[in-house]
Structures are given as C-alpha cells and as structure tokens.
Amino acid sequence: MFRSFAILIVFGLLSIMSVKAQTSDKIVATVEYQFKYIKNGETIIDDIGILDIAGDKSYFHGKGADDDKKMLNERIARASNGSNHITLAPLSSKDFAQNACEFKIIKDYAKRMAVMVQYIGRQNLGFVKDTLSSRKWVIGKETKKIDGFFCRKATTRKDTSTITAWFTTEIPLPEGPYYYYGLPGLIVQVRSTAGISAELLRMRPVNKPREKIKTEPFALVTATQWYKAAANEAAAFKTGQFSNGDEAKLKSESQ
C-alpha cells in the first residue's frame, strides 16, 4: 500500500516537474534586431540578430548564419540524393551570406550566465561572456520615443568600452541583443564604443508557447581557451580557401 502510494507521489511529482518544464522552457517571444559590428571602419557583422526568449533562457543567433546552414544542408541533401556518394557543387564566398553573425549567445537565467558559442573549426565551443547578475546599468534621466516606445537611456561599461542602451519598460522583458541583459525592460537600441550596434526591427510574441529553444551541444571552456582556439583556427585558416579559390576568413567578434 505504502509502495503504491510512494509510486503515485513520485509519478505525480514528475508530472508536475514536467509540466513546469513544458511551460518554462518554451519560446514566449522572438525579437529581431539589425545587428552590426563595425571594427576600424570595416563591417564585420551586418545581420539580423534573432533573440528567442523562453522562460528559462534566451538564444541570440544570426539569421544570415542560419540561412547559410540551411542552404548547405539543402545542397548536401540534394547532392547526396539518397546515395552515399556526395558530389557537392562548387561553393564560393558568394553562396554565403555576407557579414553574417556566426556566433550565438545563450543566456541561462538559472545559472546566471551568458555563454557565447561558436564553431571553431569543427568544434562548437562556448565560454562565459558575462554573468547575468554582475552587469550594472546606470539609468539616466534621458528619455526619448523610439518607434513609438517610451525609452530610457542606460549605460554600462565592459572592459574598455562604454555601452549605451535605450530600453522600454512597456515590454517587461529584461532582455536585449548580444549578451546585453538586466535592464527592467526590453532594449530597443544599443550601441557600444567597441563597434557593436543593434536596433529593434520586430517582435513576435508567441501566445501559445510550444517550441523550445534548440541549441546545439557545445563544450564549455574558459574565455582564454576559447580565444586561443579561435586564434589557432584563424592561423590555420590563412591558407583556407573555398572550392573556387576565394580566401576564407574566420569571423568572430573580439570584444
């Protein structure tokens, strides 16, 4: 009797947990930003940054990079055509989106960290870009209307750069593009002295959340290890070429 009761309780608890998991990790809104990274006058990134927000985490990724991946998968599927032999049509730099945002940012609310993830060679490596609780924004008195939203100005510093954000409390999501987080409202515009900028393009709320955030498995390393791996890969890539002879460059932010 006790055993049956215990099983029922455990089953019930599991059900509650799974229900909770079902509601907290579903995407409640998708926000799109025009995301740019301009370094020394050269446009490194000019892409649409997509921010998927769920109850337990958010996921910032580039549309251009997503499209590239989709295109490659389609080509491989078409080339393989059911057989084991794949003859891929020659690819050139023009087949890929220009200035795409190759990295992703996963903000884990429970673990209080923003992890930057990117394929370095064939390895998907991530490191803690920022802790979600450490960033202190200074909210000033400046306000302005941006795209119909009443926005307030906030600033913060990261290393040597100053980040200026305009956020709105009208959308009560403490989120923003890239690793920016922690303001009491959604970031509508942001610009850093290191060359990063983002502007809100659109937001699609999900009234009946169903989809989970899908991220690829990655290995968490230290920032030092990550940058070292990127530098090694970039050095190896100096001889990297597309099949048509175009030089292939590894793109990553270096802030």
């Binding site: 809104a29 023009k94 609310y109 409390t169 009560p172 303001l183 009491p184």
Partner: protein, 882 residues
Amino acid sequence: MNVRLICILFFFSATLVAKAQINIKGTIVSTGNKAIAEANVILFSNNHQDILAYTITDIEGNFSLKSVTKDSTLLEVSILGFEKQIIVLGPNISKTFVVVMKPAINNLPEVIIKQAPAPIRGNKDTISYSVKAFSDSSDRRIIDVIKKLPGISVSETGQILFNNRAINKFYIEGKDLLEDQYAIASNNLPSADVDQVQVLPDHQPIKALKGSIYSNRAAINIKLRKDAKSRIIGMGSVGAGMPLNTRNDEVALLKFDKDLQFINTIKTNNTGKNLDPEIMEQNKPSGWSDNYSAGTPQLSVLKPDVPQIDQSRFWFNNNNLISSNFLFGVSKNIDLKLNIALENDRISSRSLVQTAIYLPADSINLTEHHSSINAYSKFISCIVLEQNTDNLYLRNSLNGYASRETNTDDLLAPASDQQLLQPLFNLVNRLKAIIKTGNSTVDINSMVNYSTQPQSLTIKPGLFADTLNGGYSYDGLSQKVSGKTFSTENDISWLLRLRDFSISTLSGFEVKNERTSNALFKIQNGMYLIPGADFTDTINRQFSRVFENVGLAFESDNWNGSIDLKSSYNYIENTEKRVNRNDRLLLIEPALTVRYTINAYVENTLSLSRSTSIINNGNSSYVLVDYRDLVNDQQTIDQKKSYAAVYALNYRNIVRGIFANFDLLYVSTANNFLVDYLYAGILTTRNFVAFPNRTESFGASLNGSKYDDVIRTNFNIGGNYTLNRLNELQQNNLYHIIAEVYSVHTRITSSFSPNISVIYNTSLSAFYNSNDAGGKKLIESPILSLKQNLSLKLFLQPRWSIGGNVTQYADFQRSMSKFESYFADFYFQKTLAKPKIDLSVGADNIFDAKTFKSYGYTANIFTMSTYTLRPRSLMFKVNFQF
C-alpha cells in the same frame, strides 16, 4: 582643530545619508505561492518618472533594492503573464515585501518597426531601389523614377542603361510581357503602384544557360506594391490647349496577375510628343533592321539633321497610337504573349539648311528651304510562345510588320517638289530550343524572313537637265525601286560544361534570295522615259553561307573568359542586266573576352575581336536616292574587316550609392572600297571605287554617379571623347578626314526637401574637324555646343505644386556668329487625393522662340540649320489614376 572639525562634519553627513537610504527587500510570488523569477522590480520616484533603483528577481523570486530618497516612492513589479503591481511606499520606508502577482493575459504586442526602406540595398545578384525614396509627388510614371536612380540612365528613345550598358530584359513581377518594347511599360506603369525597381546585374534571361553562358548585361524587374497586384490599374489624361488646337489624350489599362498580364493603351496628341519610341524595340542596334534587306537601295527625302533641342519643340505632329499587349500563363512555365500596335502620324516641319562643302580648290554652297510632311501608318504584331525552365527553353516568335509611309518636301529653294512612297511588309518567324541534359546543352535556332519594299520617289520639276535631258527642261523625275527578300538561317549548337569550363560548337547555314529592280524615269508630258541604260537594273542576289563556330569559355567567381572562333564559307552570286558577278569567301573571325572581378565593387572586361562584314549592295546602274544624290556602286563585294578592342571598368557600391564606369573602344577597319564624291552644282554623284581604305575610330568615356541619401541628391558626371579617321575621294582628291568630339556632362537630381525637387543638366561638346587633300591641310574652327537645363518643382500645401524649367542652348563657331536660344516652360497643378486626379495648366515656350539655329560638321561638310519652332502654347490637362 581642523581634523576635529572634519571628523564632526563626516559624522553628520554619514548620519544624514543613513537617514535617507531605504532598503527594500522582498519576494515575488504567484497566487499559488510559487516564486517568480526574472520579474522586473523598479523603484520609481513618486511622480513615476525617474527610476531610483531596479533589479530582477532571482530564481527564488527574491529581490533587494537600495535607494537614497526622502520622498515617497512607487515600487513597480512586472512580468509577462501577470498583472503589473504598483505599490506606493511612504518616505524613508525600509521594508520587506511579499508581492503576490495575479495571473493575467497581458500578451506582448506584435511589434513591426516600419523603417523607411533603404534607398538602395541588395547584393551581387539584385540591387533594389526603393521607389518611395527616389520619387517625388509629381512623379506619375515609373520612368520618371527610373531616370533618377543612381547607376541608371535613360536615352531619349526610352532605352534604359545600367552602368552605361543597355539592359537586356524589363520584367514586371518576373514576367517579360513586352519583350524589347518595354517603353510601353515604363511610360504607362504608375509609379505609385511600384514598390521597388530591381536591377539584376549580369543577367542571363534563359534559365537553361545560367552558369553556362555569361551575360554582362543587367535586367530590370519591377516589384509592384501588394495592393497593385491582381487588380486593374489605370491611368490616363485629357488635355486641350491653344494655339493650334492642341490635344494630348491617353488612357492605359494594366493588370499584372500571376497568370495574366496586360497593358493596353490608346494615345493621341498633336503637341509634338512622339509616340513612336514607345513601340520601338529598344535592343535593336541603332540603324539596324531586319525589315528590309540591305541590298535594296533606300530612297529618302533629304532632311536636315535632327537638332539637339527636344523634339516636342519643333515637331508639328498628329500622332495616334493603339497598343495591346497580353501575357497568358498557359502553365507554370509556359507563357503566351501577344503584342499588337497600330500607329499613325503626320509630321510637318520647316527648316532652312545652308551647306558648305569645303574642297581644296573652292567650296560648294547650297541653300535649301524645306517644307516637308511625313505621314505614315504602321501595324506591328508579335506572337510569342515561350517556355523557360532550368533544363528546357522553347520559344517561337512570329513578328509581322506592315507600314505605309509618304514623305513630301516642298523645296522652296531650289524649287522642287518631292514625294516619296515607301510601303513595307515584313514577316519573320524565329524558333529557338535549348535542351539541357546534365552538363551538356543543345541549342537549335531557325529563322525565316520575308519582306517586300516597293519605293517611289517623284521630283518635280525635272532636275539636272544637262545630264539627263540634253539641256532641255522637263516635267519631273521618278525613281522606282522595289525589293523582295526571302531568307532563312538555321543552326544547331552543342555546349558541354566541365567544371569551370565550357566548350561549344555551332554549325549552321544561311540562304538569302533577293530580287531588286530599279529604274529612273524622266517625266515628260505624262510619259515615263528612262534616260539611259545606266539608270535601270534588275538584280538577283543569291547569298548562301555555311558556318561553324567553336568556343571555349571559363567561369569562376572572379574570372570569366571566352574564346570564339567563327568560320564561314560564303557564296555570293549577283545577276544583273549587264553584269554577272560571283564570289566565294572564307571568313575567319576570332574573338576573345575576359572579365575579372577585382572585388565586390569592381569588375573589368576586355574584349578583342576580328570580324568581317559583307555588304552585298553592288549595283552597276545609277540610283537617285534623294533629289540630289546619285549613287553608283560597281564594287563587286564591299568588305569591311574590323579589329576591335573594348575595355570596360565598372564600379558599383550600393552601400555608398556610388556607380561608375570607364570604357575604351578602338576599332580599325580595312575596307576594300572607297567612296568617291563628285559634286556638280547641287548634284552629288557617289561612286564606290575598289581601293584599300583603312578607317579608325577610338572612344573613351568616363561616367560616375553618387547618391547621398541624407540630402536625397544624385550627382552624375561624365565625359566622352571620340575620334574618327576616314578617307574619302572628293572631286578625285583623296581626303584624310579626322573628326573629334569632346564632351562633358553633369546631372544633379535632388529632393533635399520634401517640398522641392530640382534637376540640373548641363552638357558641353566640342566638335573638331580637320582634313587634308592634295597636301593642303584644312583645320576647321571647332564648334562648341552648350546645353543647360534647370527644372524646379515646388510642392505646396495642400496638394498644390508649381514647377518650371529653363533651358539654354548655345552654338559657337569662331568664324560664324554665336547662336543662343532660351526656352522656358511653366506649370501649375492641383492634386486631388480621392479620386487620384491632377488638374494642371502648363505654358510651353514662354519666351516664344520662333526659330532654333545650330551648326554641324560631317567630314568636310559644314551645315548651318534653322528650324521653325512650335509657338508659345497653353495646355489644360487632367491626369487621372485608378
């Protein structure tokens, strides 16, 4: 003492601060007492303006805030899915709260930021121009906007060029409704219904050839606004004016559905607006036509050169045009197109032309007062069935052309009436099939052409009595020429693509049969008499050739190249009344083209070629091609062997809105004939003499445009230089003639304020001519020609606009007087929003300029022309759109 004082002050201040600091802690929970993480907790000042402190709850729902204030505050807690809570806190309250949040459906709003579309955006494959960004409120037709787009220019006949190269297709929503007659669309499609004008650089219109055959020409695709698709669009105008009882009426109905597109227009005007370019095939090389055979002499009524002023200023016309164009989507990939146009016009003009032909010994001066009327009717039809898929391209087109043209010229000095009748009938069928299987492509072409062209030129009274009638006067001359041509050309080619290379081979044959007869008659007392055997002939021309072309092409991302070798064996047989001629010619024509894309912005192309053209229009009799030109071509076969080098450098940067191109052209032609001009009074006799004769031409042009989207201004600047060296025999003296033209032009188009639109054009050209004959070098004074035009539009509120333009033309020649003309036009317009109607009144030629004078050079012939202009006029117009 000081230390003690500082300590006291520090103690007091610390006490004060401690007094004002408040600590607020708490937990945010739901009604079910579950902790809520990631909730926004904001401490506002009591006016709900300033944020004093903020935080976000942790995973346990806890928060902690500190602030310094003596006033009461507002604590706001918000999170998605719950009602926002605002708690009023009294002054200096430090407290620990448990805030219970009530569930609520506070769904986030869908947000779409409506940003102004970037004026220009795109990538290597497509450049999109926002019509909204480039149009002002006076633009009604899409061509008005296309003219302002950076990197694009539009010729006077409506041909569109991108980076100085003519486009090869004009699509509307991806469909090629009008083929080469795209001016019908560009002139009638309302700009308000267009969202984007897209340029597709290096566009290969045949899908099966994409990746196999490189195209260096761009196409335009019109993207309509969503609300303009699938509905009937209409626009039109009704205009009446004075003097001359002018009218300008038109209506156009358009529809662009997935399976049905049409543009139907009816237009009529007598305001000097020429409707002919609207149905012109824009991609046909200038002066080239397949409507008649080159072997049939073309008779004409001698006319002065076309002046550089706008045609509407000197064109006294009565022009009517009906055109109907349909595209039916028979299936997903098959289109059936039907294009029909019926046009007639009656153009009258008056001019005075003074001609000086500079010869070593003396010069010949002619003065001609023209009063001419050109009346024509023409019917053009085209039926096309086309399938365009990745692996199969099929196309059959049947073009029909029928026209009747009458030219009359009442020459006051020398007194002579001329009348030319020139009907033409032409039928051409073209079949093209391209089949792509794997890496190989087979291309089959077949063309059948039939045309007839009887012509009759009558001149009264009879001229050249000494030459033609023993010195006795007579009633008139009648030159009759008729030509019938049947030709067919068929070929098949095979192209194999191997990675970055493709090799091709093409084999085919052409057969042409032409029967031409010509006779010059003296008219005396109603009788038609041939002055002599030299003035009549009947020629049967047989031309056949077999040809084989081989080509090798290479294509990678940065490099494109092709080597072509054309070889042909040509057989020509001409049977005339007195002479039989035949010839066999083996022609080898190599060509090399290399294109290198330096980076995303810059590409350059070099083409080298050798070609031979055969001009089979030998005629051993004399033909009076106009009232004072007798032509005799006894040369067996006229041949032109040309070596050409063309270099083009193109730059386009859509981010910065900069487009530029630099072109070089050199052509050296070895002719086997020389033209011999013999002047005797007003009569010019032209003979073709067998003599090696090399001509050279060189051209350089540089054009650039920059669009500044802050001041919404497009700057264009360009320069051209052309050099022509040619040889002629005149009065049995060999002339080496050098003709040079330098020109610079600028164009600024600006809408720097929403209320102002400005267009400024200027062009300055210098014409240099020199020649030497018999050791005597004659350098003629250069002609400088200037044109400036300023067009200004002011958009006043509400919906009023005024505008006008001022144009200056000036011709300078050192030894002659300076010619200057000024023109000004003005309009006033009121626009009604619903329905979309413009009411306008316009005045043209406000200064009432009566005549326009200009200078011109052709070899060693100098002309001074005076044209009669349309008088000052007033036009009331109603434009409507639905």
